[in-house]
Amino acid sequence: MSELNELYQQVILDHNKNPRNYGALKPCTHFSEGFNPLCGDHFDIYAVMDGDTIKDISFEGSGCAISKSSASIMTSLVKGKTKAEAETMIEQFQDLVTMPMDQQPDEDKLGKLAVFAGVREFPARIKCASLAWHTLKAAIEQQPKAISTE
């Protein structure tokens, strides 16, 4: 059961039950739609950018606990950050969930992101965790089309 506890940490369960920054943000300056055709997970990301700063951000849609909590935690983390800072976080997140199991993630550097280290044990769930991040990337880089993790 320990790997399961590692995957479904309290933080993740909490964000799943009480997602932060949930609901459409209208009007917004940036928007992207993320879709995982294999499992049907679907999240929209709304952002209000002030110059290079993400002034406000929200998400809306449906998905499993991993994808939903990942979106919730992500929006809390990038709110108020610059585009460049958000991009660094996206990279850190991607590196974290694809890092080999025998490597220890740098928890000091990662902060709250580190709760997703447990996803590595569950290869089928990596795409769940990544969906919101891919979608955020598309939103802030303004690629105006639906993003898929497949």
Binding site: C39, G63, C64, I66
Partner: protein
């Protein structure tokens, strides 16, 4: 009553389970509980051994060589065709075409039937509970030939709306393609009625039997269907092999699907003469070992008896429906009166994907997602379901284990 008692005595679950070596596997330290039989079934020793023996002792190409091994391989391959014909009650062996699976069989029919019989404005009638493999091939064909795909709706309990079906059958309808048993809802469709109504208007019917042949006795003559498709791997046989049955009267006039070796009588650069049935539709070296494996699977389940399997599985299904429906927060999707072997459900507060992961760690294999039936999910307004799907080797104890794990998942998330 006595006959029933005798038949149940013949169904020895312990010895049956011993035939399936994988049922002894441990998964994450737990004994495997395999409840994903609608995705693929496990293989008995007899099937594994038949394929093993073929590669060890007979491997050779068929329909060509004059040498002994080729003759033996050909004989075993054609023997399997006879077994399939007997199994589904096909009157003629040449009405059995080996394909790569149900998907391949439907693609074959859509391409070939479309080329011969479909004009602009014609209609193909399918249902809202089709697997993508009985939607997309028709969509592709319709697009190519400017035909129209019509869809029979389903009711809230997951049964086909027969009133709508009758209304949708028109002079323009050229083919009805309907699933025999739904893979995501478990509904057994009233196929005999469907066929009679279609035939009354001279419309042929294809049944997608991918989820039917392993659960119910199927006789294509009694049904009077014009085409019937199914897969080997869902029938306790190997992947990579399936069957398209077609009435000879239809098949003989249909053009070939693929060109190549084995499907020809004579080839020159000017003109090729196609082979007779069924070889006209079997281009290239087929999946010989898999066909032989499928034959062994049919021998195996015929030994148990499809009637017995149907009886045993309806007990198991009733038990599964009762136990799972009784779990708080659970809603079962697909509650038609006539159902087979599938319990699809959603849990308020637990996403199917998370359910699947929790169950997996308990050694329980189920399927979560849209089950290649996205229109069904849309119809019920849900993104996905968790699906428990049964085979005759499953037990009530396994279902108890599964119910306990579902309850555990609910505790974690809610």
């Amino acid at each position: 009553m006595n006959a029933l008692k005798e038949s149940m005595q013949a169904f020895d679950i312990n010895s049956i389970r011993k035939d399936f070596p994988i049922l002894n596997e441990t998964v994450h330290g737990k004994t495997l509980v395999y409840l994903d039989n609608a995705a693929t079934t496990q293989k008995p020793e007899q099937v594994i051994e038949a394929m093993n023996a073929y590669y060890r002792h007979t491997n050779s190409n068929i329909h060509r060589g004059v040498h002994l091994l080729s003759e033996k391989a050909t004989q075993q391959y054609e023997e399997a065709r006879k077994k399939v014909a007997r199994f589904i009650g096909a009157p003629k062996t040449q009405e059995i075409i080996f394909t790569r699976g149900t998907t391949d069989a439907i693609n074959l029919l859509a391409a070939s039937f479309g080329k011969k019989h479909i004009q602009a404005g014609d209609e193909i009638l399918i249902s809202a509970m089709e697997h993508h493999s009985n939607i997309v091939p028709w969509q592709m064909m319709c697009e190519e030939r400017k035909a129209v795909l019509k869809v029979v709706p389903i009711d809230d309990d997951g049964s086909l709306n027969m009133e709508a079906f009758e209304q949708l059958l028109s002079e323009k309808t050229k083919l009805v393609a309907i699933v025999h048993v739904s893979n995501s809802l478990g509904t057994i469709n009233p196929v005999k009625d469907i066929i009679q109504k279609a035939h009354a208007k001279n419309i042929p019917v294809l049944l997608d039997g991918a989820q039917a042949v392993q659960h119910l006795p199927v006789n294509v003559q009694e049904l009077d269907c014009d085409f019937y498709a199914f897969s080997g791997h869902k029938l306790f046989g190997p992947t990579g092999v399936g069957v398209l049955y077609g009435k000879e009267s239809w098949l003989k006039d249909l053009p070939p699907y693929q060109g190549g070796g084995d499907m020809i009588l004579n080839v020159t650069f000017e003109k090729t003469t196609y082979n007779e049935l069924p070889y006209k539709f079997e281009a290239g070296t087929p999946a010989i070992a898999e066909v032989i494996g499928l034959g062994a699977a049919i021998d195996y389940i015929s030994g148990i008896g499809m009637k017995q399997i149907e009886t045993r599985e309806s007990e198991l299904l009733a038990y599964a429906m009762k136990r799972i429906a009784a779990i708080p927060r659970v809603t079962i999707i697909g509650t038609a009166a006539h159902k087979s072997s599938v319990v699809s459900f959603v849990v308020d507060g637990v996403h199917p994907h998370d359910m699947g992961t929790i169950l997996d760690r308990e050694g329980i294999a189920i399927r979560t997602g849209h089950h290649c039936t996205q229109p069904v999910m849309k119809r019920f307004g849900i993104p996905a379901t968790s699906r428990v799907s049964l085979a005759f080797y499953n037990t009530e104890e396994e279902l108890d284990t599964c119910v306990k794990a579902i309850e555990k998942a609910i505790q974690l998330f809610v």
